[in-house]
Symmetry: C2
Subunit: 349 residues, 2 copies
C-alpha cells in the first residue's frame, strides 16, 4: 500500500506539502502542486482513512442504528441516509438493535469508539437510553421516527396521530360503526400516537371508544392473531379494522382468511405502512403510506447541518403520512364499481 511518504518522495517534497495539496489548503506553488498530483496519479495513492481519522479526531463515517433492517419500513430510510452520506463523502455503519436496550448501548459504545462523525438512530426507549453517552462524547445525534425525552437532539418524526386519524375517519366515512384497532407494543411511541389518533377520529365521528375494540398485540408474536380472532368471533364483532403497522398486517390477513371473513364486504380494512404488493391484495389494501425515504433524507440533512455549522438548537421535523385508499376499505360496491376497483385514489394531503 502506498503511503503519503512514497508520494512525497516521488514528488521531491515533504509529506506536509502533499497533505496541503490533497486538502486544497492555500499556499502551494502551481508547479509543486502539479508534481504532487502527478505523483498521486502515478502511484494510485489513497489516503489512509484511519490515520486521517485518528489525527482529525473524527472519521468520515456515520453510524445508523435501527431496530431491524428486515422491517420494510426501514429499508427506504436507510437508503436515503446512505444516499446523502455518500453525496457528502461519508460512509455508513449499519447496526440492528432489535428493540434491545443492551444491544443499543453496545452499538453506541462501539460507534463512539469508532469516532463516527455522526449518529442517526431510532431510540428504543424515550428515557432509558445510552444516547447521552454519545452526546457527551461530542457526537452529533439525530433521532429518527421516535422521540427522546432525555437528551436534546434533532428529531425527525412521522405524524402518526394524523395518519391514524385519517385512516380511522375514512373507515367511519365508509359507514363503519364498530371500528377496531390492532395495536402494536405501546411502549413504542408511534403506536401510542396511532392509538390517540384512532380515538380522536372516533370522537370526531361521534363514535364511542370501546375498550373491547382495542386489540393489543402484546409482546409475543402470537398475540396479534389471538386477539383478532377472539374479536371476530365475539358476540358483537367489528365492521372495520385499522391495523397499526405492516408486521401486524402480515399476521392479521391469514386470520381473516382462515375465518372466512370477506374484505371489504364483511370487514373494512386499513393499515399503516405501504408494502410492495399491497395494491394487489384483494382489491388493494388501503394503507397509510409513510414518507420513509424522505424521513431518512431529512434526518441525514439535519446531521449535515450539525456537522457544518454547530447550530445546537434541537430541531424537530414532522412529516405527514398519506392515506392511499384502495379496495379493502370501500364499502360493498356494485359490479360496475368493482371493474375499476383496483385503481388507487390518493387522498388530498
Amino acid at each position: 500500500m502506498t503511503t503519503m511518504k512514497d508520494v512525497a518522495l516521488r514528488a521531491g517534497v515533504s509529506t506536509a506539502t502533499v497533505s496541503r495539496v490533497i486538502s486544497g489548503t492555500a499556499g502551494v506553488t502551481e508547479d509543486v502542486k502539479q508534481r504532487v498530483e502527478a505523483a498521486i496519479g502515478a502511484t494510485g495513492y489513497r489516503p489512509n482513512r484511519l490515520a486521517r481519522g485518528l489525527r482529525r479526531q473524527s472519521s468520515m463515517v456515520w453510524g445508523l442504528l435501527i431496530s431491524d433492517i428486515r422491517n420494510p419500513f426501514f429499508t427506504d430510510t436507510v437508503r436515503a441516509v446512505e444516499d446523502v452520506a455518500h453525496a457528502y463523502g461519508y460512509s455508513l455503519v449499519l447496526c440492528n438493535s432489535d428493540e434491545d436496550l443492551d444491544k443499543e448501548r453496545h452499538y453506541i459504545d462501539v460507534l463512539t469508539a469508532e469516532r463516527v462523525a455522526g449518529l442517526l438512530l431510532t431510540p428504543e426507549h424515550e428515557d432509558r437510553t445510552s444516547v447521552a453517552a454519545a452526546v457527551e462524547a461530542g457526537v452529533p445525534v439525530v433521532a429518527v421516527d421516535r422521540r427522546l425525552r432525555t437528551s436534546t437532539v434533532d428529531t425527525v418524526l412521522v405524524d402518526n396521530q394524523h395518519g391514524a386519524r385519517q385512516a380511522t375517519r375514512h373507515l367511519a366515512e365508509q359507514g363503519a360503526r364498530r371500528i377496531a384497532v390492532l395495536l402494536g407494543d405501546e411502549r413504542v411511541t408511534p403506536h401510542r400516537e396511532r392509538l390517540k389518533g384512532y380515538e380522536s377520529a372516533l370522537k370526531s365521528a361521534g363514535l364511542p371508544v370501546d375498550e373491547e375494540l382495542i386489540l393489543r398485540a402484546g409482546t409475543h408474536s402470537a398475540g396479534a392473531a389471538e386477539s383478532l380472532r377472539a374479536a371476530m368471533l365475539g358476540t358483537d364483532p367489528p365492521d372495520a379494522l385499522f391495523i397499526s403497522n405492516n408486521q401486524l398486517t402480515s399476521r392479521a390477513l391469514p386470520v381473516l382468511d382462515g375465518l372466512g371473513v370477506r374484505v371489504p364486504d364483511d370487514l373494512l380494512v386499513a393499515c399503516f405502512d405501504d408494502l410492495p404488493l399491497a395494491p394487489f391484495v384483494g382489491g388493494g389494501l388501503t394503507v397509510v403510506e409513510q414518507p420513509t425515504y424522505d424521513l431518512g433524507r431529512r434526518a441525514a440533512e439535519l446531521l449535515i447541518d450539525q456537522l457544518e455549522a454547530t447550530a445546537g438548537i434541537a430541531r424537530e421535523v414532522l412529516m405527514a403520512p398519506q392515506l392511499i385508499v384502495r379496495g379493502s376499505s370501500r364499502r360493498a360496491r356494485s359490479a360496475r364499481d368493482r371493474a375499476s376497483g383496483a385503481s388507487p385514489d390518493r387522498a388530498a394531503p
Copy 2:
C-alpha cells in the same frame, strides 16, 4: 474522551501494561491486572478503534457492497451478515452500488482506504470489476449471489437454474402449454441462469422453446410492462407466466389487472422471490423462495474462515431455493378447493 494514557496514569502503570491487560496477553501480575481493570471501570475507557486499526493495519469493520438495500431480496442477506459480523465483534459498512460500475469502484476504493478487514459484495459485472484492487491490497473478499470470473474469491450462490426449472416444470405439470418468461437484465448472471433453467424445464416437458414467449424487460423500467402487454394481446397468448424476480412481479401485476386477465383461470403465474404479502395476492402467489438469510450467513462465515486461517482456496457454495406453490399456479379449481386455497404447500426439497 479518556485515553489509554489516562487509565495508565490512574492505575500507576505504563500504557504498554494497560494494552496487555486489554488484549489478554499473558505475563501480567494478578495484582496489576486488577488495578488496571479497576481504572478502566472507573473511567469508562473504550479503546479508540481508529488508533488500534492504524497500528494493526486493519479495522474491525467489514464492507458490504450490494446494488440496492431497497430490494427486498437483500434485506435478509444484509441482516444475516450483520448478525455474524456482530457475533465476531465486527461492524458493517453498507454501500449501495446501484448496478453502477463507477460507484462500485468508488466504494471499493473507499473501503480499502478504510482498511476494512473484509469485503462482501454482489459484483456488478463478471469481468470488468475493481475487486482485483481490493484482493491485491490483501483484503479478503467474498462474492455473494453473482460469480466473478476475474479474481479467485470465495463465492456464495443460489441455484437459480434449479429454481427456474422447478417453477417452470410445475407450471407445465399444471397443464400449461405456452409458458412465457418475463426476464430481467441478461447481463446479470442470475437472470441468464434462470432463463437456462426455464428452457431446460420446457425441453424436459416436451414443450418447444418459443422466442416469442421470452419477454425481455430490457433496461428501461417501462419495458417489462410493454412486452408483457404485447404478449397478452398477441394472437397466441401464453397460458402461464414465469416472472424472474420480485421487481418484475410488481410491474407485471398491474398490467394483468389492467387487461382483465384472471389468475389462475386465464393465466398461471409463478415468480422468483417471495414477498411479505405474496400469500395474500389473489389465492396466493406461487413463488421460488430464495434462502436470502442463509446466503448472507454463509457468506459471512466464509469471510470469518478467511480471516482466521488464511485458507486461500476459492470456495463456492451453492444454495437451493424452494418452490412454494400457492393459488396463482393452480389450474382452475372447484368451489370446494377454493375454500382452502390460501394454505401454501411447500414442495419437496
